[in-house]
């Protein structure tokens, strides 16, 4: 794409990123959450990809890094759930809610604008899912685009 679009992508990518992270972080008090925020960020990556083209982007954003992001997100999710076993609780027990400290501040009941540090394990899981979706959806786009760029191997075994 032209220089203007590339410049716009450069400007918009941080904006999209911070906005996606905002959606992820506020998943438990405003609409949004891990999946939505992750999808927003992944769309930001797709924006960079479309502005600069597949070959150039793969030098900055590797598939390995995205896959690592996805695996880390999933492990964080399942790990957050598994930690409940250490406390002798069942799988997916919300062991932080209402306990005070990090993310455990008791909420005021009824309509209120909400505090960030409530919700127990939910914000942690939100972040984990956000990271996972970020990696996953960006990888899907990269892989599909790699189907358009002919590799040498593909050329050979295509017959």
């Amino acid at each position: 794409m032209s220089k203007l679009v590339r410049f716009a992508a450069d400007i918009l990518y941080p904006v999209v990123l911070i906005f996606g992270l905002y959606i992820v972080a506020h998943g438990h008090i405003t609409p949004g959450g891990g999946f939505q925020g992750g999808a927003v960020i992944a769309t930001g990556v797709a924006l960079v990809i479309v502005a600069y083209g597949y070959r150039e982007v793969t030098q900055w954003i590797g598939k390995g890094g995205l896959m690592a992001r996805e695996v880390v997100g999933l492990l964080g999710f399942i790990g957050t759930a598994l930690v409940a076993f250490i406390f002798g609780m069942p799988f997916f027990y919300n062991y932080l809610a209402g306990q005070g400290g990090l993310f455990g501040v008791p909420v005021t009941y009824g309509p209120n604008p909400g505090e960030l540090n409530t919700g127990g394990t939910v914000p942690l899981m939100n972040f984990a899912v956000g990271i996972e979706v970020w990696g996953g959806l960006a990888l899907v786009i990269l892989y599909l685009l790699s189907g358009l760029v002919p590799h040498d191997d593909h050329e050979k075994e295509g017959s």
Binding site: V5, L12, F19, I23, T43, L47, V50
Partner: protein
């Protein structure tokens, strides 16, 4: 409060009118601008509906829309331009 609802209704009608160009449009880019127009109206309608419902948080949806429909347009444009 009626003015908000009337504005939303008119925007809805305009959306349908823009869909006419989506049907007629002889070439790809014509259809793309029709969809782009619908998209703009959707965002405007969402912002106004946020006031109608008295729910401030709903406006976030419009921001997401504004940011992301751009990407789809870029992909289509890149495809039409033969660069993809």
């Amino acid at each position: 409060m009626d003015q908000w609802l009337i504005a939303v209704l008119i925007l809805g009608c305009l959306m349908m009118l823009a869909a006419v160009r989506l049907i007629l449009g002889p070439t790809g880019p014509d259809r793309v601008i029709a969809v782009d127009t619908v998209n703009t109206f959707t965002i405007a309608a969402m912002v106004i509906l946020g006031v109608v419902y008295q729910e401030i948080i709903f406006v976030d949806v419009a921001i997401v829309y504004g940011l992301l429909s751009f990407v789809a347009t870029l992909y289509v444009a890149k495809y039409i331009g033969g660069e993809l």
